[in-house]
């Protein structure tokens, strides 16, 4: 594991970017970008989400299985479309609130993949996604 530091080339100036979490080597991947994301969602456990609600699976203490991508494991999962996730009962019970985020440039780097628009988000140190929450909806845990 590196210390979450990745050299970035920006024009002629080489910058060193540090991330909020400890990241594996070559993480984020080279195709990750730091761009504004207009609307993105995350299911959270309370009406007032904290920094912990945006921790990666790695930061939550879950060990990454050997064959899975450790870099993705160390990201916070956000979704461009998340409403249908609320149909999964267990997930709804664990995370009954749907947070809508608007993320400006400079909070971190991300990569979007999959049909639902899964966003792997790696926050820069000193930033927090909890500050990007613009709306909270729920709770959705009523049976």
């Amino acid at each position: 594991m590196s210390e979450g530091i990745r050299p970035e080339k920006m024009g002629e100036v080489k910058l060193t970017t540090s991330f909020a979490e400890s990241l594996p080597p070559l993480c984020p991947p080279s195709d990750a970008v730091d761009q504004e994301i207009d609307t993105v969602f995350r299911l959270v456990s309370s009406q007032t989400p904290t920094i912990a609600d945006f921790n990666s699976k790695a930061a939550q203490g879950h060990v990454c299985p050997a064959h899975l991508d450790a870099c993705s494991w160390a990201s916070c999962s956000l979704f461009k479309e998340a409403r249908s996730l609320l149909k999964y009962t267990r997930l709804r019970l664990e995370r009954p609130y749907l947070a809508t985020l608007k993320i400006p440039i400079g909070v971190g780097m991300h990569k979007i993949s999959g049909k639902r628009g899964h966003v792997d988000f790696w926050s820069y140190s000193g930033t927090s996604l909890s500050g990007c929450v613009v709306a909270i909806e729920g709770p959705h845990n009523d049976q």
């Binding site: 699976k57 995370r95 049909k115």
Partner: protein, 345 residues
């Protein structure tokens, strides 16, 4: 409540994922499919799943939006429901059979309205979807029944040629061969056997090589559009073109086989393959091979293998395929149907 029945299954695909996989697709060694969601029992570990069995056909229906996930799981095939633990990334899991009345299952079912279009595409189904749309142009005067007659001839020839091609594929499993051969297991004493046979062949192919009507415009000139697997549709059109180009020789081979069988009383009710003398068998197989030679994509040897060596049944099926081909071509010959791949002679 669980019973003692356990089963191993392969995790084929994670269809939806949040922090953990939320929806899994499993496959058992007997090609039974299982869709499973995380257990909603908060006392259970987060990697506990419950799900229901389904046939390949039901899975495809789900993928095509014919039902939602709740329905697909709740109406499991043969009421087979399962519970299991899935440590992320394990290639196989051990399933424990549970009852439909299991409270954990009942509370874990997803809310109605979650469709396959809301999660990752099911790779397994994508492989088998029809990959060509073909248009038959229709003209002239048609009775309503003639449309279904036309489509039924297309269907019968398409499916049987798909079966023959599949049976010849070296990668086919013994179980798949048995399924194909199973369709031939009937008395063959009357017309009902043929109807049932083609129905079964169509059913067996419904997953691997489905044929579907995608549009009909009845008014003349109109069209019938179908979705099909291109390789089997191409075989059908090659058979029709060969017949168009060699009608005289093809009919001659057909009548020769029919006459030989009638003369030897092979078409009489109760006549069986075992009743044939060696000379009769040789004569039958020779004439049947000559007829098969008039139909590209149809091999009498393969048909015989499909019937587990029953020359009589193989010859009867061969005749029935030719009859269908002949009837089908008639629609083109009459000028009432046209397709860009077929030059009518």
């Amino acid at each position: 409540m669980t019973s003692e029945v356990t089963l191993k299954a392969k995790v084929v695909q994670v269809l939806d994922w949040y922090e953990l996989p939320e929806l899994l697709l499993l496959e058992t060694p007997s090609l039974e499919y299982i869709l499973a969601v995380r257990s909603a029992d908060l006392e259970a570990t987060p990697n506990t799943y419950v799900g229901g069995s389904m046939t390949a056909r039901r899975l495809r229906d789900y993928a095509n939006g014919k039902c939602d996930l709740r329905f697909a799981i709740a109406h499991a095939n043969l009421r087979r429901f399962w519970k299991f633990s899935y440590p992320v990334g394990e290639p196989t899991v051990e399933l424990q059979r549970i009852k439909r009345s299991d409270a954990e299952l009942a509370k874990s079912l997803p809310i109605a309205g979650l469709f396959a279009s809301d999660h990752e595409d099911i790779d397994l189904v994508k492989t088998y979807v029809p990959n060509t749309t073909e248009r038959f142009n229709i003209d002239g005067s048609w009775d309503l029944g003639e449309f279904s007659q036309f489509y039924s001839q297309v269907e019968d020839v398409y499916y049987i040629s798909s079966d023959i091609e599949k049976f010849d594929d070296p990668s086919i499993t013994t179980d798949e061969k048995k399924t194909i051969s199973g369709a031939f297991d009937r008395s063959w004493d009357g017309g009902g056997s043929y109807v049932a046979f083609y129905k079964r062949v169509a059913n067996d192919n419904d997953y691997h090589a489905p044929l579907r009507v995608s549009g009909i415009q009845y008014n003349s000139p109109g069209h019938v559009k179908i979705h099909a697997k291109s390789e089997y549709f191409d075989t059908l059109m090659k058979m029709l073109q060969y017949y168009a180009d060699n009608q005289v020789a093809a009919k001659k081979a057909f009548y020769a086989l029919g006459a030989f069988m009638s003369a030897a009383k092979m078409k009489q009710k109760g006549y069986r393959n075992s009743h044939m003398t060696d000379a009769q068998r040789e004569g039958l197989e020779k004439r049947a091979s000559e007829l098969a030679a008039q139909m590209p994509g149809v091999s009498f040897d393969t048909l015989k293998e499909m019937t587990n060596g029953n020359s009589l049944v193989a010859a009867k099926v061969l005749e029935s395929v030719f009859r269908r081909l002949k009837k089908l071509y008639r629609f083109f010959e009459e000028g009432r149907v046209a397709h860009e791949q077929l030059a009518v002679k």
